[in-house]
């Protein structure tokens, strides 16, 4: 407790405009590998510092070092790491406990993991109060309810008695924030606080953090998503490979970046501005020369896939029927991209599985090239399956873990209309496919486990292309990827469409990605199509209130 007393003394003595947190030359290494290579930054009360970077940039380790949770085996060195005059480099495990919660609040990405599933939400929220010996048990329980109310949890008394798994993702994240702000810490460290959330919930959580900032809390927001950071941050620090690439005021970094990496990151964000263009610009070309797509014409007379009033009812373990997809109809034309956008639970993935005939619809019918598809017996459907490819969000789980890249692709070639007649031919064609998706012969013997996320998705695309399909169902194909890798994969998909005239049924929760990719869009909510039209119609003149809400909630760079 002496440290805390000292901290409070020091804080009282500090000048009002002095930085709350000053970090200088922070280095974190695990064994001989240095993951944070000497970074410096400061934060002040009532301001937000956004730390942006892709996976492996060291942004999370930086955040964890600030709360003494860098993990076993981490060596932390810093020229300076002071929080209101307290040297954070000299804390024992014990004194960290006095600082965490009281001085620094920590919010993690996944509230499901961070909250103890077996304890009541109220007890979890009151936990920091208890650790720091705040009040009596009854007072803490009351305070927990107040905290839940203050973060906008409806019916806080009832929620406090529930357990984390009974709450939705958004409510859980709010409970976590309530717990982090329980003791009114001067600094909040939020590591990807909205990444697992739907866009409307994300907006609410960001608003909550903004309120906290307005009350004078200093926030460090770690995110891979520049548009999320743009919404909240006053200063932005861009990290790559453990180093600072660029550090400055948010407006400057996000609108006049000095470093080309920051520029590339910004360019890679798909949105309405990037439609019909490449997200990854060749290094030589500057902002002005944007290469537009030269795509194969869409054949408006020929729907390759047609869903007619499909409905899917699932019977839950409680014997209650749930209508997951309700009266959904759409047509996918030859050569076009039809985007389906919706939040989690909107029925978009179920619709895709019905389109793939992996799931029979309860009512309605899916036609392939105008002929019966979903109503066919499985044996007659099997030879037609080659005409619809599929790409999943998590490519790794869609590969047999024992198989090499080469085997995965040659196997898919054999299901196609022109099965290779020899092993040599199969391998040669597999190499051509790999080259088409930007990989090389070297990747043929590789196990997908050993490939990077982007490479895995390329293998998945190569596999989908192998049987020469007319259309590919893409179910959240870039959601698990870093923004620059996402840009490469999206570019690859549009290039392939230009080249092969393949149609995409493109499913995503990300409005930017959907706008960038789609010709026409379906907006789904609670199993129904609430709006449909061309991409520009839906995005520029949304008629449905839900679509309007979605678009308002969408964080945009322009707001910075």
């Amino acid at each position: 407790m002496t440290e805390v007393a000292a901290a409070e003394q020091a804080e009282a003595g500090a000048a009002a405009d002095a930085p709350l947190l000053a970090v200088e030359n922070l280095r974190v290494s695990f064994g001989s590998t240095e993951v944070v290579k000497g970074i410096s930054f400061t934060t002040r009360s009532g301001r937000c510092l956004g730390i942006v970077g892709e996976s492996g940039s060291g942004k999370s380790v930086t955040a964890r070092s600030l709360v003494g949770l860098a993990g076993a085996g981490a060596t932390i060195q810093a020229g300076q790491m002071d929080l209101a005059g307290v040297d954070l480099t000299r804390q024992s495990q014990r004194s960290w406990r006095a600082i965490r919660g009281r001085q620094i609040g920590f919010i993690l990405q996944d509230a499901m993991v961070s909250l103890d599933q077996l304890r009541r939400v109220g007890d979890e929220v009151a936990e920091p109060l208890k650790i720091h010996g705040w009040g009596t048990k009854a007072a803490r329980a009351r305070k927990a309810i107040d905290l839940l109310a203050s973060v906008g949890v409806p019916e806080p008394e009832m929620r406090a008695r529930q357990r984390p798994y009974e709450l939705s993702g958004g409510l859980r994240q709010r409970a976590l924030i309530a717990s982090a702000i329980a003791l009114d810490p001067k600094l909040l460290v939020a590591d990807e606080p909205t990444t697992a959330l739907d866009v409307t919930i994300q907006a609410q959580v960001l608003d909550l953090l903004a309120e906290s900032k307005d009350r004078g809390t200093s926030i460090i927001l770690i995110s891979h998503d520049l548009s999320v950071v743009a919404r909240l941050a006053d200063d932005v620090l861009v990290m790559r490979d453990g180093e600072v690439v660029e550090y400055g005021q948010a407006h400057q970094v996000l609108h006049q970046p000095r470093h080309e990496y920051t520029q590339a990151l910004l360019d890679a964000i798909p949105s309405e501005h990037t439609r019909g263009t490449q997200l990854v610009r060749p290094a030589a070309a500057s902002g002005e020369t944007v290469a537009h797509r030269a795509r194969a014409p869409i054949d408006y007379s020929r729907p390759v896939l047609e869903a007619r009033q499909i409905t899917k009812v699932f019977r839950g373990p409680d014997k209650v029927d749930r209508t997951v997809v309700h009266d959904v109809s759409f047509e996918l034309l030859a050569g076009e991209t039809l985007g389906i956008v919706g939040e989690s639970g909107s029925g978009k993935t179920t619709s895709a599985r019905i389109a793939l005939a992996l799931l029979p619809p309860t009512c309605g019918e899916v036609l392939l090239d105008g002929l019966p598809w979903s109503t066919l017996p499985p044996a007659q459907r099997r030879p037609l399956r080659k005409r619809i490819g599929v790409i999943y969000q998590d490519p790794l789980s869609s590969f047999d873990p024992r198989w090499s890249t080469g085997r995965i692709i040659t196997d898919a070639l054999r299901t196609g209309p022109r099965p290779p007649s020899s092993k040599t031919e199969a391998l040669a064609r597999a190499v051509r496919l790999l080259e088409q998706v930007g990989l090389t012969e070297r990747h043929l013997p590789a196990a997908p486990l050993r490939l990077s996320g982007g490479q895995r998705q390329r293998v998945a695309i190569a596999r989908a292309l192998a049987p020469e399909p007319e259309m590919i169902v893409c179910d959240e194909p870039v959601s698990a990827l870093d923004v620059s890798i996402q840009a490469q994969v999206l570019d690859l998909l549009t290039d392939l469409q230009d080249e092969l005239g393949v149609s995409y049924l493109f499913i995503s929760h990300d409005l930017g990605v959907i706008h960038h990719m789609s010709d026409r869009i379906l907006v789904m909510k609670d199993g129904r199509v609430v709006e449909s039209g061309t991409a520009d119609e839906v995005f520029e003149h949304p008629r449905n209130p839900y679509t309007q809400r979605l678009l308002t909630a969408l964080p945009r760079l322009a707001q910075a």
Partner: protein, 283 residues
Amino acid sequence: MSALAIPRGHVRGIRIPVRIGTAVPLLFVLLVAVAAVAPGLLTDHSPTAIDIQHTLLPPSLSHLFGTDDAGRDQFTRVVYGARESLGIGLGATGLAMSIAIALGFAAGLAGGLVDTAIGRILEVAFAFPVLLLALLLIAIRGPSVTTEIVAVGIGSAPGYARMVRGQVLQVRQAGYIEAAGALGHSRWAVVRRHLFPNAMRPLVAMITLGIGQSIVWASGLAFLGLGVAPPSPEWGALLDSGRLYITTSWWLEIMPGLVIVGVALSVTSLGRTLQHELEGAAR
């Protein structure tokens, strides 16, 4: 595993680290395997050569494990007993796995009524003590190697069947099963090419463990006089015949006992290593 790491062998993509903790059990199992295949390589004596002048001799250089009440070299008898003991271990595990695969896959793939029916059968089998089952079989067929294999095999099958069923249910949910279906492969091809190998993979280690366990089971049955009859040098039978002399000639019990423990321990440790490697390779 860094300090003791000597060169790594590559077996079909699975890295088996060669280190002391693996090398010793591996060597021991190989030795027992040699004894089972070609016992003549390990000893000059005959397992049945009676020598009344040298009965119950303690271990010495000429008789490593001493001699028994008929003057037979105990080491030679242990070596010649390897074939039957190992045979029982492999046979029983093989039988158990065959039953388990049949029941586990039927239950896991068919689901519904079939699953429920098999589940009930397995529960009854679980409730039935293995020893009682063995006694029943031996009472019907008389003690023999085959009876022991059948008894131990059937006795340990329900446990494996449960595991196989669980694996099938888990792997069925995997993304690559759906992806293979979406490519247009038939149900049977998906089961054969993806489901079976991936469901069985984690069980390889369990099978290895099962071999050691079966040997111990079989020895136990023989010790109780329910297995192979004493003139045979099967390890359990050796224990049974040495029982009378345990106070005067300890080596008749201890030496074969140590070999049984050694085999069970080695096989178990190899199984663990294999399990570790397979799980490491899977993710």
